[in-house]
Symmetry: C2
Subunit: 209 residues, 2 copies
């Protein structure tokens, strides 16, 4: 399977070549694969914040524990979770589904009610964690798409969300930075690229019942 | 990109054909793609619990809010997070990396210390959530692998972890059920398969900075 070869090729790139840039077409493909991620109830409780502006990418570095990837990569994709997933948002999502599937308006009211019950039974913190989990499915899809396109990436949890939110004005958009993926092309002298991939053997990772 | 076509083909299968079974080779491929998932520090804080036994799959149904997929699918892949990610586990992981990369024993001691600092600064609940997030990257990889192989799957968060842990004896293995993926082949009359895929347009999902 090609994906296996692609995922073996992938590694968490520590040093990007700042002179190389991901093409608009490839960026579009990567985001499209991310947007096809499965999410809880299909609610897609996230948005992509794609940072290409070099000055802003540089501003992110001190709030990324001084990791240089946000500055050196071609684009920084911030997967931000929505903080506005409420009854109204869910009803609108149901309306959108009715529209896409040529259903009558109101046909999904019962299902919307069920979703609203499930989501609003969570407190704010639980809802954030629920959305964050979904954002990791999106992250995985982005990484796979990059790998298939031979584009490098580096998943990053080591950053200060409140500062990312401030710099990218996410609070005003009802968003919260969840996980970050700089994308671009590896530097020729990133020594990490020569290291053997380390995965525990599948036999040690699996129990059969 | 083939992945896009595959992910568009994928849907959360509500009704599996219980007469069809995923082949051992395909199952191996799916798990291999899951095992190639990126995880925080490469620590792989999870294990696969693959349930094929029909009686046990049936037992899972009442603790899955009576969703029939665990009983009807070919295999239920439970992604369980490790509850034993401590200093010793991390040191062993570093030893294993040294071995795979032909490094001298002890060469990664400093890095191990850094990881231990980061992980043990989290309390038990935070560590569980940290591992659960990683498990969603694994979930995404499994779903993508299935889709590429034209194998159906249904990601499930709607289950009672404590009961899954009990039935599958996970506590004794220092594991905790995080998220569940029944895999198999769709039933011919699963009406969901005819529904148009619903995704908000990428333009509405993306902010450019």
């Amino acid at each position: 399977m090609d994906i296996i070869e692609s995922l073996k090729w992938r590694y968490a790139t520590k040093k990007f070549d700042p002179s190389k840039s991901v093409s608009p077409d490839d960026l579009q493909t990567i985001l499209e694969v991310g947007n096809l991620a499965a999410t809880s109830y299909g609610l897609q409780p996230f948005q992509f914040v794609v940072v290409s502006d070099p000055a802003i990418r540089q501003q992110l570095v001190p709030f990324s524990y001084n990791q240089p990837q946000p500055a050196q990569a071609s684009h920084v994709i911030v997967i931000a979770v929505r903080t506005d997933v409420d009854a109204e948002f869910i009803r609108e999502s149901a309306r959108f589904t009715e529209q896409v599937r040529d259903l009558e308006v109101g046909q999904l009211d019962g299902y919307a009610k069920q979703m609203i019950g499930a989501i609003t039974s969570m407190n704010e913190q639980e809802r954030l964690l629920w959305a964050q989990k979904q954002s990791y499915i999106v992250l995985a899809n982005l990484m796979t798409a990059c790998a298939v396109l031979k584009i490098d990436s580096c998943p990053m949890e080591g950053f200060i969300p409140a500062e990312y939110n401030r710099i990218l004005d996410l609070d005003a958009k009802n968003l919260h930075a969840s996980v970050v993926l700089p994308v671009g092309y590896r530097a020729g002298d990133d020594e990490q690229q020569g290291f053997a991939k380390v995965r525990k053997p599948l036999g040690e990772m699996t129990h059969f019942v």
